[in-house]
């Protein structure tokens, strides 16, 4: 049996209350919304917070407001995100990504904010306590060495969120609230290229909103590679967002890969190649080639890293072909 470690559970009455409670308990505390990532991690003893600050009852953290762009509160469930008609029509990649996460039960429980803050994953880390103790703990939790890259000074755990590459590709920003006040940052700045310190927000900052600009004709899509058609985390994700001029030339382009590093990887060169061009076969091939090169997955998730790297070119090609229609 896998039981949770003991904790006390606090129910704040507002966002400010939540943030102040966290400040009060400090390192002993963690925020929890749906719990679909944190509770399995706690059962495996990857985290053992003595205090949980539950966010599920906060109506302030739920809902979608359509006003000069769209504001998504972080506690909105993935099921609600995938079903929202404005997201489906104008920010399609996000509705698609949310629908592709895990399973119906987990999408009902899990939140957009939770998916964006998902812990990084690795075959050596996402194992029960006894497995990790028997092998020897790794750098990310209780050990000294990265089991995937033993000579490396850093952790290589993989960013496994479906929604983050999409929110970045859609020029999203996020609002963070702490005892020091609020700040709004570009979604890409929420992530760092490190398997352990993978978030660009302080531990006491609460992610409250995801803000997307007016869609303004941007067409977007998200493709996910995984072994099964359900349950699995992405072993490759491709988020693409393009705006076409009336003559078919590409005015803006963003292409972001997930599942190939410790943070979502933006394909800057691919995007640059596409600006001012029509989405011809040659342009698609060039963009896919430029995206494939910097993708360097390691052998720390499902499938082999060689296959996942090859699929980066295939999936970028397919994503762009979808948008060319």
């Amino acid at each position: 049996m896998l039981r949770l470690p003991p904790f006390t559970y606090h129910v704040p009455r507002s966002i400010d209350d939540a943030v102040n409670l966290y400040a009060q308990y400090g390192a002993d505390a963690m925020f929890v919304a749906g719990g679909t990532d944190l509770y399995p991690n706690m059962k495996r003893r990857q985290f053992e917070p003595k205090v949980l600050i539950g966010l599920n009852a906060l109506t302030e953290l739920r809902g979608i407001t359509n006003d000069n762009g769209i504001t998504l509160r972080a506690g909105t469930s993935l099921a609600q995100i995938s079903a929202h008609p404005i997201l489906q029509s104008q920010y399609a990649a996000l509705a698609i990504a949310a629908q592709l996460v895990s399973t119906p039960q987990l999408r009902a429980m899990g939140t957009l904010g939770g998916n964006l803050c998902l812990d990084t994953r690795c075959n050596y880390y996402d194992q029960e306590f006894w497995w990790r103790k028997a092998l020897g703990f790794c750098m990310k939790k209780d050990g000294e060495i990265c089991m995937v890259a033993p000579g490396s000074p850093r952790c290589w755990a993989v960013s496994s969120t479906d929604c983050a590459p999409v929110v970045i590709a859609l020029d999203g920003r996020v609002r963070l609230v702490s005892p020091r006040g609020e700040r709004v940052i570009a979604a890409t700045d929420l992530y760092r290229d490190d398997g352990i310190e993978y978030l660009g927000k302080a531990r006491d900052e609460l992610l409250t909103e995801i803000i997307l600009p007016p869609a303004d004709g941007v067409k977007s899509v998200y493709l996910k590679l995984r072994r099964r058609d359900s349950f699995d985390f992405p072993i490759l994700g491709v988020a693409a967002a393009l705006r076409f001029a009336p003559n078919g030339e590409i005015e803006t382009a963003r292409l972001v890969l997930g599942g190939v590093g410790s943070r979502p990887l933006e394909c800057i060169e691919s995007a640059r190649l596409m600006i001012g061009q029509k989405l011809s076969r040659d342009v698609i091939d060039a963009a896919a080639e430029a995206a494939w090169k910097p993708a360097r997955p390691l052998d720390n998730t499902d499938s082999t890293h060689g296959y996942r790297k090859k699929m980066a070119r295939v999936y970028v090609t397919r994503a762009l072909e979808t948008l060319a229609e």
């Binding site: 049996m1 559970y9 719990g35 679909t36 039960q105």
Partner: protein, 161 residues
């Protein structure tokens, strides 16, 4: 950690529990309410065996806390039958051999029940999608889908009369 008094509504009845906050809904149902129809599978959200309905929506009891579910209507497999009268899904699963070991069955039926309560005439594809969070190691799924389809068509036949 201190135990707390909590009230859970399960299958239409209110129960008073005296449990620690870190006890999951799955553990509380089985250990404190003797409702052992909901099963321990992976306990990590990766199999669906512990599926129950909360206000009609399928969720995983292994990752749910009673402390958050007070006032909500929880339905377990024990709540599907009405006395001696089986729920149509239970009858269909039994008649069409949709269960071998039976371990996934409670979760499967509840996910199916939630679909059929909202969708009058689902396609086989929609049924497959609704059950995408419930794993079965025995049957290969076809008879499970057949059993749900049969109830769906019975349901829509009754409706159109």
């Amino acid at each position: 950690m201190m135990k707390q008094v909590l009230h859970l509504r399960v299958n239409g009845q209110t129960h008073e529990l005296y449990i620690e906050p870190h006890k999951t809904l799955l553990e509380a149902l089985r250990e404190d309410l003797d409702l052992t129809g909901t099963k321990h599978g992976c306990e990590l959200g990766e199999c669906g065996a512990c599926t129950v309905l909360v206000d009609g929506t399928p969720i995983l009891a292994c990752l749910a806390l009673p402390i958050e579910l007070q006032g909500r209507e929880i339905t377990t497999v024990e709540g599907m039958a009405h006395g001696a009268e089986l729920h149509p899904l239970q009858r269909s699963f039994a008649e069409l051999n949709a269960a071998q070991c039976g371990y996934c069955t409670a979760g499967m039926m509840l996910s199916a029940k939630a679909l059929l309560d909202h969708e009058k005439n689902p396609t086989r594809e929609q049924i497959r999608d609704a059950l995408a969070g419930n794993l079965c190691r025995c049957t290969g799924y076809e008879k499970i889908l057949d059993a749900v389809e049969r109830v769906a068509s019975e349901q829509s036949t009754v409706e159109s009369k």
